[in-house]
Symmetry: C2
Subunit: 154 residues, 2 copies
């Protein structure tokens, strides 16, 4: 199944299968957004100032990894319309390369495992691999996250 | 070693040992911050509106997990003064319980492993467990992250 899910009907555990893929909208990122996020949450020279960033590990302005994650979450909320919301229990995140001003982010989410709850028959966990790429197809972030998912009632 | 690290001198790989602990400043969180972050990055009813949140899984307004992570990053930047900055390669994050309005967040970071680079003698990775707690000592987030760390030059 390949979905462009904006406005799609809510999804329950019963609607999902391993291998299902969801493609998000895109998010264009610019230096202003990068600096604004970093000022609040990750105030380091390579996230705050293009000139100061030249002499750092990043050799130029780069977004906080957590900014990439936050934008990814926004794109997942839009593209994976789980009934009762996207509620994560946890995640593994890595950043193969920096997110830069001018990158246009898009998330491809793939269901890689479905784990019914043993104690609560109305729910389960879905394990979702979410790849955040830019317009050149470069992978900016890999995330594997466990997300709560409910069954249809009655 | 137990450090309150604001204004402390920059730390190199050579300065660190497994078991070292760093305690951050505190960050008081309120509903306005929760809603502001969620509006931008995680626009779901349980993060946006206290009334709408009552009938959800969270039974009341809760911060986006990624908001807790972002605040945690800010507190780590302040409390773990690595030379050349705090540059994460990746992380595992879980949220044992929701972060709520009125919570005062504080991060305790403990170095659990040091991995010298095989190919680049000037650097290594430190594996850091970062526990984000509230004023009641409840654990809001557990994170284990691999962070780049440089040796003193020459």
């Amino acid at each position: 199944m390949m979905e462009a899910a904006s406005g799609a009907k809510p999804l329950y555990l019963d609607d999902l299968a391993v291998g299902d893929v969801f493609i998000s909208d895109t998010h264009p990122l610019d230096a202003q957004q990068i600096v604004q996020f970093a000022s609040q949450f990750d105030p380091q020279p390579f996230h705050l100032d293009a000139d100061a960033a030249q002499d750092t590990f990043f050799q130029g302005l780069a977004a906080s990894g957590w900014h990439t994650t936050a934008i990814t979450m926004r794109l997942i909320v839009q593209s994976l319309p789980l009934a009762r919301g996207v509620i994560g229990a946890g995640a593994e995140v890595s950043w193969p390369q920096p997110t830069r001003p001018g990158d246009v982010l898009q998330v491809t989410s793939r269901i890689i495992e479905i784990i019914p709850s043993r104690s609560k028959p109305d729910r389960g966990l879905i394990v979702v691999e979410c790849i955040t790429s830019n317009q050149a197809g470069q992978v900016l972030q890999r995330m594997v996250t466990k997300v709560l998912c409910f069954r249809k009632e009655g």
